[in-house]
Symmetry: C2
Subunit: 149 residues, 2 copies
């Protein structure tokens, strides 16, 4: 292992899994490790599976999907739809929003409080409670905007 994620961080997440009545398995440990390892990236289920399978070739893609689902239910991970492709997953720690450039596909991370104003307006206006970011904002990044001109 070159530098893998700290055992501590994995165990913290696994504790949550146990608390939720879930069981700790090799597959789950590996999925969490992959997510920690790819922290800051936008991993699809297939990306996660690929990383998991480097150490545990027998873990099946469908198990990764099921694990990711379970973690999502526990609130440990979030999945985000960046565009038209597959969903991407990341740990729920460090919540943030995403903007995707439809010119070059770049994903920009945005501060978590970006929608505070919007959330407030929705709560006051229609009583709607916004939940975790789950979508991305489409647009054009600075580079593509200059290229347009």
């Amino acid at each position: 292992m070159v530098h893998g994620p700290p055992t501590q961080a994995i165990d913290d997440v696994l504790a949550l899994v146990r608390e939720g009545g879930g069981r700790v398995t090799t597959a789950r440990r590996a999925v969490i490790a992959a997510l920690l390892d790819g922290s800051g990236e936008h991993l699809t289920a297939e990306d996660v599976a690929e990383r998991v399978q480097r150490q545990h070739p027998d873990v099946h893609l469908s198990t990764v999907y099921r694990t990711l689902d379970a973690l999502d239910d526990l609130g440990v991970t979030n999945h985000v739809h960046l565009g038209h492709g597959p969903s991407t997953y990341h740990l729920a720690t460090d919540p943030h929003h995403h903007a995707v450039c439809n010119g070059c596909g770049t994903v920009v991370h945005l501060p978590a409080d970006l929608f505070d104003g919007v959330a407030e307006r929705l709560r006051a206006g229609v009583g709607f409670e916004l939940t975790a970011p789950h979508f991305s904002l489409p647009g054009r990044c600075a580079d593509c905007v200059s290229a347009d001109r």
Copy 2:
């Protein structure tokens, strides 16, 4: 026909199609009529096809997809991802945002200017230009929030 959309409105859209180098066909006319007719609703490609086929049973679902694609490219329609299901389409006139309740699935229409503040912050901060709404905001509607308590 009970009340179908005004021919005028259809022709306006068709004019845009022609301007874009596209051709006017029965299928396209019918797709546009369906969209006008379902204005305010969130029609999936299948919904559109169903409506189209009431008058023109031979129009194939794949043609509807292609037409919707073409209209999207022309900027005449937008498609929105409301959740995990199929995309929904609507005419680009009367732009608005959507919030979807993950309790009951209700879709709430939101004012178009809701993101003005966010857009400004993004433009000033990272030079990112937000484009048309293309996603929905997840959360819980007022009813489901009360039900939670």
